[in-house]
């Protein structure tokens, strides 16, 4: 499993993103955080992240909307939706717009790391 992935966490829940970010870095990943969709898009635009973990509720924008924009501009960039509010519609819309996965908080780091790694693996072209 690749442990040197570059992961971008977009989530306005500061406690959560900062802790998760630190723990991912401790695992050998590279991780950055963004508290808004706009901030996240800027980082993605720089070409840095390999996987995005996106909260569905953001202060500046609806998360699914944000997902849509990411997938329109960078279709091969895997995005995992992570939310504290279980909502089937959001989950299905998310998958329709190309999210790799939809998960619910609380999520233990182990599971999240697996989901990130699988999303990254699946985003590669087959046979490579």
């Amino acid at each position: 499993m690749a442990t040197d992935l570059k992961i971008l966490l977009i989530d306005d829940e500061i406690d959560f993103v900062e802790t998760t970010c630190k723990r991912l870095i401790r695992r050998g990943f590279s991780a950055k955080t963004a508290l808004t969709c706009a901030e996240g898009l800027t980082i993605i635009d720089s070409g840095w992240p390999e996987v995005v973990v996106l909260d569905v509720m953001l202060p500046d924008r609806d998360g699914v909307d944000c997902l849509r924009e990411i997938k329109e501009k960078w279709p091969s960039l895997p995005v995992i939706l992570l939310t504290g509010h279980a909502c089937m519609q959001t989950g299905m819309h998310g998958l329709e717009y190309g999210a790799s996965d939809y998960c619910l908080k609380p999520i233990d780091l182990e599971t999240l790391v697996e989901k990130i790694s699988i999303a990254h693996r699946e985003s590669r072209k087959p046979g490579i």
């Binding site: 279980a86 299905m92 619910l104 697996e114």
Partner: protein, 876 residues
Amino acid sequence: MFPPAHSGLSRRRQTSTSDHDMSFLFDRLTSLFRSKPRLKPAELQAAFRGHYKEFRALLTANNNALELMAELEQALTAGHSFGMAFVRGNCTALSVNIYKMIQHLTRLADGRYAELDHPFRTITRELEQLIAIRSLSKEGPVILSMDEIDVTKVDQVGEKMANLGEVRNRVNLRTPDGFVITAAAARQFAAANDLQVEINRRLKGLDIDNLEELYTVSAGIQGLISNAPLPGELEEAILARHQQLAADTENELLVALRSSALGEDSINVSFAGQYRTQLNVSREFIAQAYKEIVAGKYKSQAIVYRQQRGYRNLDVHMCVGCLRMVEGDISGVLYSRAPDDPRSPFVIIQAAPGLASTVVDGSGATDQFRVSRTSPHPILHKQFAEDENASITGFRKMLTDAQAAELAAVGVRLEEHFGTPQDIEWSIDHSGLLYILQSRPLGRSISEESPVNGAYNPPVTDLPEPLLAGGACASRGVGYGPAFKVRSSLDLLRFPKGAVLVIETPYPEWASLLNRAAAVVSETGQMAAHLATVAREFGVPAIFGMKQAREILTNDTLITVDATAGKVYAGKVEPLLALAAPKPNLMVGSPVYKLLIKALTLITPLNLTDPTSPYFRPDSCKTLHDLTRFCHEKAVVEMFNFGERYGFDDKAAKQLVVDAPSQWWVIDLDDGFTPDFDPESRYIDLGHIVSLPMLAIWQGMTAFPWGGPPPVSLGGFGSIIFQSTRNPNLDPAVRSAMAAKNYFLISKNYCNLSVRLGYHFALVEANLGEFLTENYVSFQFKGGAADENRRLLRIRLISDILNEFGFRVEQKVDAMTARIEKKPGSFLLERLKILGYLLIHTRQIDMVMADEGMAAEYRRKIMADLHTLLISTTEG
């Protein structure tokens, strides 16, 4: 793609009833007539890899979905607590995973099966409505006077105040004047500040076993509520009503604010002591005190309590009674019957000087009376508290005989009115007037827990000398665990699961530990304390009034607590523990429990059991389980058919050669063969197979030679003949050539083996991915030649063995499925060896299963072989 062996197919299709696991073979027939796109080898390889990727993702989603379903089902029986967030979260995750399966299947099948969308939408729409957060009505008056309240107003004022209104207006007993700030007011308050979204967000991720997190989240939410401003109109309404109440008061009006949550105090569910009461509140602090009581809905023990009992936070609304303070001269608690005997001919009164709260919160020493329920209510028994102050001052307020009789009469009246024994709080003021402050059903009585064993002292002899004796039973039962003394909130955080809670005083705050405690030993306190009530409800044994407990018991010492007898023993006293009743499943009957049962009707029933049935199609899917079954089955079929659809030549299925060509065929889905294998070859040997799960199964199949069919007694043989006449598939002469073939579909990490061996069918499927999320082994087993009873006995034997090796086994009639998921590869490979062994060695033993001796002998041999197999292969 396959050797031409279609001759027997049509007949088999008509006659087949049970062998659905091979059904995908038949789907092949339909695809024969489809046009075949001709692709170049490189394109073909890429297309195949693409399909395989979809297939693998579908298997992972299937794995997640089945695990989530099992979790939801287990929640009903495990007796653990779960909240609405669990149900909503799991249902949502489940739906999303099934949606993923449909997406992957559609892509795998080049756009077919899109009609699955319809049943999926229908099922999930219904499920979503069920688990949706209902919008709350904010209508109705925000304030109701105590004079206009009775039980019919329960939805507006909560059960505590509705009962008090009943006492006041229907039983016509004296209660304090005042009013209730209703549920509508609480909703308006929450809505004005948009509190619920934020509260839900904070509760969503909460693990109630993580006490530190629990306290942080609880304090955060309470702060949020306490600091939010009251809507202006609401505050004005409260103050205006307060002024009316003050009009006929000489001194400054002081009120008691009492919580009255909707959902609390109903029978068997007392949120005892979970919420706040604020006494002696003056006008300027009413608004703040009101908010704090509303915030008390999220006290840590209330959150835990609700979660354990299955109450949705949204279903609990905090109403607040605002009652004129009673200047209590003497106050206490009255039980209309003894809590441990619903037929007792006496009431129990606990009394202490001052306000009733000292009795209820367990902090004050109380006098106890047993008073006859029959007029003129003589006192049968008195027990006075040891009160150091009293002996110094020589003066202590005592309940008079007349007052005790008055109370007993009230207890009888209230029990008659409410139709069930009551737990009553009362206060007598300076002028001698009796006020009823609260009346609610007497909680789960101690004797209800074990109606059979009514004796207080268990009939156990030869017990060791107790470490401690002489305590009073606050909650019956026997518990065992390490002692752990709790003095402060800091100790709370370190309290280990399964420990015995040792405390000085049974404060209500300790209630949040009861879901982790094996038992409770307190130096002080009595049956009326809230902690005792909660302990009884949770079935946690508790001894109160156990002097020197903290001195004699040291942390981490293992002790057995016999609460029924009021004794504590060193170490584990098995004969006593054997008496311990199982814990009640507290969730049964709660709103969340009922809702989950309803939700599960849309989730777990499996209607699509037979893939050969004409009804095995999308519009027959009635539950989420049906959808997973359909998607999985069709995905395997699609992978099987891939070569054919894309014009592969006939050589995809290779005949396995072990010494000589065998009855086993292998199809590579991706990377299951070594790169140097010649794809033109019709045969393959084991050396060219790199599929880890297949090799493990094979190892299990071949580790021991099969001893051949068991010697069959006449009865067993007769039963085969009988079966054969009914089931043409059992007759070798009728069996089609196709049915005789056993296929391994493999990749390096995946294997799907469908087997027909002897007279039974089996399907083994395994995936050993890079990640635990992807890992599973599943096993289906069905059929046999002997009569049903013998087949069932064999299935039970296999189930037992698989259970021992950690499989989750489900059995329906003579079909069995077993699954393990999300375990490391090495663990699963061992399980595959076991399955491989069982496939071969349980052949035809159904015939001898009726013979107990032989069945036991087979079981012994199987376990011994498996042991050898696992040891030898681990060492090798």
